[in-house]
């Protein structure tokens, strides 16, 4: 056996599981779901080809779909920037030489650690209840209590707050990024008379931009797919008045509650398209705002 053949054989032996898994659990289901998206497919009957009907119906005849898209877009575009801004702010506060920072870092990370669990979603549901601690706090500040479960916008913001609350993992990433910025940059800027805001926009933000890009992409994608909090907090309904009917939840309901498997598949492909477009936009515009050190000046 030639050594080239042998090394190819070893290579495919090792990555073989990935290829088999990719074919069986990713590409085959993907093609199947693409096919289903052009069919009417219930639980008991065979898929029936209907062309683009599912896609057309989504945007013309299904107000719940349009609403879930709207709700998800608000959730993503309010939640992700706020969460990242928060993460950056806290990371900068913690990027000091104090000995207590290790402790603070741990404390701030804890919400992120447990945030994806059902337990936390249950907790969130209860602190925002009519007699919950959020309303108690609002009242003590002289603000009228809010019926978080009575009004769609309030309910959606309750979900957004939960997402912001979990800023800890981004904060850790930013903290690592901040530590890698040489102190000499700031010292030189101070000598030149730069103030805090100038230093932030001219040094911190550009130096952090690759990390920021990565975080924006990954968090936008995962925010788009958020399921657990909406499912638990609304007890699977997406209510009130579909205010928390995030895309994933509506897709799940179409597929596994109403058994419109074809329609749900079409929804999944639109979701894939949206995620791909968003990622593309972030990548393409990144050359205007991401600064890689190796580029030089």
């Amino acid at each position: 056996m030639s050594s080239r053949l042998r090394s190819n054989l070893w290579g495919y032996l090792f990555i073989g599981p990935f290829i088999i898994g990719f074919l069986a659990f990713t590409i085959t289901p993907m093609l199947a779901s693409l096919y289903f998206s052009f069919t009417e497919y219930g639980l008991f009957d065979a898929p029936k080809w209907i062309g683009f009907e599912n896609y057309i119906k989504m945007f013309t005849e299904d107000p719940r779909y349009i609403n879930s898209l709207k709700v998800t877009i608000i959730y993503v575009f309010a939640g992700v920037p706020l969460r990242l801004a928060f993460a950056l702010l806290v990371a900068m506060l913690l990027n000091v030489g104090s000995r207590a920072v290790g402790w603070y870092r741990t404390l701030y990370y804890l919400p992120s650690l447990i945030g994806g669990s059902v337990a936390v979603a249950i907790m969130w549901r209860n602190i925002f209840g009519d007699d919950g601690i959020v309303n108690i706090a609002l009242k003590s500040m002289g603000i009228d209590s809010i019926r978080w479960f009575g009004e769609p916008t309030a309910a959606l913001w309750m979900l957004i707050f939960l997402s912001i609350w979990q800023f800890g993992s981004s904060m850790l990433i930013f903290l690592a990024g901040l530590k890698s910025i040489p102190a000499s940059f700031y010292e030189a800027a101070s000598v030149d008379g730069a103030n805090f805001i100038q230093k932030f926009f001219r040094i911190t933000l550009p130096m952090l931009s690759p990390v920021l890009l990565f975080n924006i992409i990954m968090q936008t994608i995962s925010a788009f797919m958020t399921f657990v909090p909406a499912f638990i907090i609304s007890k699977g309904t997406g209510g009130p008045l579909d205010g928390t009917l995030l895309y994933s939840l509506y897709l799940f309901k179409q597929g596994f509650e109403y058994f419109n498997m074809g329609y749900a598949s079409a929804m999944a492909w639109v979701m894939l398209l949206i995620v791909a477009i968003l990622t593309g936009i972030i990548f393409l515009t990144s050359k205007y705002w991401v600064h890689y050190e190796s580029e030089g000046k």
Partner: protein
Amino acid sequence: MTKKRPQYFLYHILVGGFAVLLLYPVIWLFVSSFKESGDIFITAGSLIPNPFTLLNYAQGWEGFGGYGFGTFIKNTIVFVIWMLLGHLISCSLIAFGFARLKFVGRGFWFMIMLVTLMLPYEVVMIPQYIIFSELGWLNSLKPLVVPAFFGHPFFIFLLVQFIRTIPRELDEAATIDGANTFQIFYKVILPLIVPALATTAIFTFYWTWDNLLGPVLYLNSPEKYTVSMALNMFLSNETVSNWGAMFAMSIVTLVPVFVIFFIFQRYVVEGISTTGLKG
């Protein structure tokens, strides 16, 4: 950083106070789990359970459908063990292949792997469900754990990055000593990637422990429920009287997460800071 005393004091008031504010809901959940169910929302503003009771824990532990909460914990541990086995074995093999072996199509497959990293699960969810139901795998852990034996892109990527930092001279020395490729993997690389495997194991634990969508899709009899599924059922059956039990069992499911974190904190923090894994 040199700071004057008052400034230093102010910093800790601000940063420490904010941390307490952030964790207040968790503290509230913990304290409330020791209050009498009827009192939880009447005395929601107070952090002292009066009277203090363990009744919620006793009631919650009884579970439902004839199965105690212990059963759900046991099921989840079995689920976690299978996921750990699957991810550790498959991801280390695959990562070694990508990081160390030269073969035709390596770049192509690596790129495919990175793309699947960003693929929404929803796109494969329905056909996967149909495939697994055709195989007769519904109401079992198989649809959830079998795919784990074929790698997970996040962990493969993490391990590839880690293996690339190991000097190739070690592999070459082993080859001169007569080791074949598998022996290089097993005897040289594997012992050196233990920290990255620890990160893989910890995050596999977290994601499996918290996984709700999988169990909701595939498990439908109470004797097979995982803890997240059990909590979800608690919530669906929510009546005014069993808040306390639900809070108590919520705390029970959070304890292992905290314990693992405090034991292996270093790996968690490093895993996140170096790869952007989501906690």
